[in-house]
């Protein structure tokens, strides 16, 4: 059985699965229930001067019948008194000493306010502090949340204030709503952060009611941009985690957040450098019970692949994240259709014909044989046909061997290396759809 125990910047938990700061971590009752069901840690819903929320707070983006592929919120931080939150954090920590309990904090950008908040928080026995520099709605209008996290100097300054008094690890939660997240990450490191967590939610409007023209979620006819999350944001989060993890000037642990809903998602975040994982939307959708398969699936996969601990997989994909200019131009692929598996939907043809490189030939349906075939000399190995094919492993991308050594664009542009021959029919003016079928 794989060892899922996690030590994240000194904070220990039985597994890497933490609840992210949000509605699921609002109360003692929720967090205690989650720990009972197997969650390894929890980042408490952000504490600060209590706010007043609007009714109607969440908006969903559905894909077909799949609900909440994307999700957003215009909810603010905790609306409960600071003292009450701190009392419950202390209670959770006392009753669940082996679990990671992190307090998420957001107060006005004054040194004294931060000092006071950090001291009070440490009195609870919490294992760590997460600074919410990411919340993109509401609080940012008041100079907090992403208003801090979007400016490197502010980020650095407040981390410094916190570190002046903090004795427990300080995690800085980053907003993705910036041009280059690594600038903010470096500022947090400069301020003395012990770790980073990312991503917070992305600025968004999830939709417009076409009867009333109210943006969603609507509050008395109006809406405001909210924080976008859920499965749809995972690719953005994976990229930003890899960007920060791969930045040689960062070098502090990263807690991965953003659309994690399955153990596969979790494994991908770990492979790109995450040391712990935070989950919110999937719990809001399906409840705390999802942690069972997060643990079970990750553990089974690790056992099957011979990975004994999380350290064995952490960052394993990171060296493979490269600049485009370093990719091998002599690596050639060709799509291959398994005609035995083909169900003749012709989705590959229409995608390639209209959306890519006109490299699939269509044959008459009534001849009893294949209805599509790859035009080898026109195929650029782009993956589109394999992506649209509804049959598992029917279209595969196969390597076309050549005798040419690898050559990157950087090398080629510098006059080094040779390109393996490519078909002259790649995107030439004479190769138009009408000439082929």
């Amino acid at each position: 059985m794989a060892d899922l125990r996690t030590n994240f910047t000194g904070v220990e938990s039985p597994n890497p699965f933490w609840l992210a700061s949000g509605p699921p971590t609002n109360t003692y009752g929720q967090v205690a229930k989650a720990f009972d069901q197997g969650w390894g840690g929890a980042v408490w819903k952000t504490i600060g001067e209590p706010i007043i929320n609007v009714f109607s707070r969440y908006g969903s983006v559905d894909l077909g019948q799949n609900r909440m592929m994307g999700f957003n919120n215009i909810e603010l931080i905790s609306d409960r008194p600071i003292a009450e939150n701190l009392k419950e954090i202390a209670e959770v920590k006392r009753n669940y000493p082996k679990h990671a309990v992190i307090a998420s904090l957001m107060v006005e950008s004054k040194q004294k306010a931060w000092h006071e908040m950090v001291k009070q928080t440490e009195d609870t026995g919490a294992d760590g502090i997460e600074l919410n520099f990411g919340c993109p709605h509401g609080m940012s209008e008041r100079g907090m949340g992403s208003a801090v996290g979007q400016v490197p100097d502010y980020t650095c300054q407040i981390v410094e204030w916190v570190k002046e008094v903090a004795t427990i690890p300080v995690i800085v939660k980053l907003t993705p709503n910036v041009t280059d997240i690594t600038y903010i990450a470096r500022a947090a490191v400069k301020g003395g952060a012990d770790a980073l967590s990312l991503i917070n939610t992305i600025n968004s409007i999830v939709g417009v009611d076409l009867t009333t023209f109210e943006p969603q979620p609507s509050v008395a006819g109006k809406s405001s941009h909210g924080g976008y999350c859920g499965p749809a944001v995972k690719p953005i989060a994976l990229h930003l985690v890899s960007a920060v993890a791969g930045d040689p000037s960062v070098k502090i642990p990263i807690s991965g957040i953003g659309g994690i809903a399955s153990w596969r998602d979790a494994a991908e975040f770990i492979a790109l450098g995450a040391g712990s994982l935070q989950v919110c939307t999937a719990v809001m959708h399906y409840g705390f019970r999802i942690v069972e398969d997060l643990i079970d699936g990750l553990s089974n996969w690790m056992d099957e692949r011979g990975h004994r601990s999380l350290a064995d997989i952490r960052g394993r994909a990171l060296p493979r994240v490269a600049k485009w200019e370093d990719l091998d131009l002599n690596y050639h692929l060709l799509a291959h259709i398994d005609q035995e598996k083909c169900i003749k939907c012709e989705l590959c043809w229409t995608a390639c014909e209209d959306g890519a490189h006109q490299a699939i030939r269509r044959l008459p349906r009534d001849n009893g044989g294949p209805v599509v075939e790859i035009i080898d000399e026109a195929c650029v190995g782009c993956n589109l046909c394999a992506a649209v094919c509804p049959v598992q492993d029917c279209i595969t991308m196969q390597k076309v061997p050549n005798d040419y050594p690898a050559v990157s664009w950087k090398e080629y542009a510098a006059g080094k290396g040779k390109l393996a021959p490519r078909s002259e029919q790649f995107h030439t003016a004479t190769w138009s759809p009408s000439t082929k079928h």
Binding site: G64, I343, K344, C345, L347, R365, P390
Partner: protein
């Protein structure tokens, strides 16, 4: 009429004749629509005699564009409502669905088509309007799916249309002949009304006896009169009370309250086509203790669709194969007591108190259809008896040809 003691209650009869394929809920329709792969050059579309763009109408359901979805269907098939309920989709669109090749259930195309077409029927959405008058007049003989499909498209193209129907109601077999659990007469008539509302003149109770005479008054004539009477068995006892043909039996059922249609306690249906199946299942659903198909050939030779056979078996109907009817035996008091058949083992009498003959219909011999450039023919009377969808396709194709003839141009005019 006094009811025999074994008659079913009205509630039970309602249940027995309820829709065999109930409509999808909106959620179920969306779920199903989103499973469609949106094939290019889709086999379902190719398989449909009217070539409905199935992936297009299904995607429109998925996007919540039900009006557009129904338009895609009804534009090419004026009888899209009834086809959704009565089409043999297992051997047409759904049978061609590529998901069959992925060892999955095909998309429920018929139910999705019903979802879209029910929407426009229920919301009284008018998708089509009559074209600018051309001054040309077309007579249509027979208000069945072929004739009315032709009528609808001719009206869209602006031609004046008069439809002659010998019965009291339009719709042809849609109104009088489709198994009650598939399509009810009120739905069939509502669908017809949509076509009539385009300004089709309908003359019911009029039997046309001479096409030549119509040619003197109209610029073109379309004949879609369907088939004639059920063929005769040519065996003794055929004319006894208690022997009736399937068309008459089904028509009575569809035009009266269920309890007013007589059914025997032991019913024998002679024949094994789709009409025979409709007769035997409906006899059973009316309350017959036993309803049995008697067929002179083998199980493999049955002309009915396989799924119709399965349906009859599920309904508890019996099947006697390789039993050739020889004689219908009188009970001596104005009814029948049995059907004598010849089998491999010799002669045998199958006891019964009602015999329904369903061995196919002959042509309408009374009406002579002249070979004439202005006379067009379609539907069952042209193809020997097929589905609603074939009749609709015939009517649509004929309208195009008539329009070309009348305007000397293409059908887009």
């Amino acid at each position: 009429m006094p009811q025999p003691e074994f008659r079913l209650s009205d509630e039970q009869l309602e249940r027995n004749f309820a829709d065999i394929a109930p409509p999808l809920t909106t959620d179920a329709a969306l779920l199903e629509a989103n499973q469609c792969l949106f094939c290019h050059d889709a086999p379902c579309t190719i398989a449909c005699p009217t070539h409905i763009d199935v992936p297009a109408f299904i995607k429109k359901i998925a996007t919540g564009n039900l009006r557009g979805s129904a338009r895609v269907i009804l534009e090419v098939n004026p009888f899209g409502h009834s086809c959704a309920r009565a089409c043999p989709v297992e051997v047409l669109c759904e049978g061609a669905c590529v998901l069959n090749d992925r060892d999955e259930q095909p998309i429920k195309i018929a139910l999705l088509q019903r979802h879209a077409t029910d929407y426009v029927l229920e919301h009284k959405v008018k998708l089509f309007k009559a074209g600018k008058p051309t001054g040309k007049r077309v007579a249509i003989v027979g208000a069945g799916p072929a004739g009315l499909s032709c009528a609808r498209n001719l009206r869209i193209m602006g031609h004046a249309v008069t439809v002659f129907e010998s019965r009291s109601q339009p719709g042809g077999l849609n109104t009088y002949g489709i198994a009650e659990y598939k399509l009810k007469a009120d739905v069939a008539l509502a669908e017809v009304q949509d076509i009539l509302d385009l300004g089709v003149e309908l003359k019911t109770g009029v039997t046309i006896e001479s096409i030549d005479q119509l040619l003197t008054q109209y610029d073109a004539v379309f004949v879609g009169v369907g088939l004639g009477n059920t063929k005769k068995l040519g065996i003794p006892g055929e004319d006894l009370p208690g022997v009736l043909d399937a068309i008459t039996f089904i028509e009575h059922l569809k035009t009266h309250p269920y309890r007013e249609t007589d059914v025997g306690r032991h019913v024998v249906v002679i024949g094994a086509g789709n009409t025979a199946i409709d007769a035997v299942t409906q006899a059973k659903r009316l309350g017959a203790a036993a309803a049995t198909i008697v067929y002179r050939r083998s199980e493999a030779d049955m002309p009915c669709y396989h799924y119709e056979y399965e349906l009859a078996k599920r309904d508890g109907c019996g099947f006697r194969f390789q039993a050739a009817p020889q004689r219908i035996i009188s009970n001596g008091s104005g009814g029948v007591s049995g059907l004598e058949v010849r089998t491999d083992g010799g002669s045998e009498t199958i006891p019964c108190d009602m015999v329904i003959v369903a061995i196919g219909q002959g042509p309408r011999e009374a009406l002579k259809i002249p070979e004439h450039p202005k006379v067009f023919v379609g539907g069952d009377c042209a193809n020997g008896g097929a589905e609603i969808v074939n009749a609709a396709a015939d009517g649509v194709a004929a309208a195009k040809r008539i329009h070309e003839m009348l305007t000397g141009g293409d059908a887009n005019g």
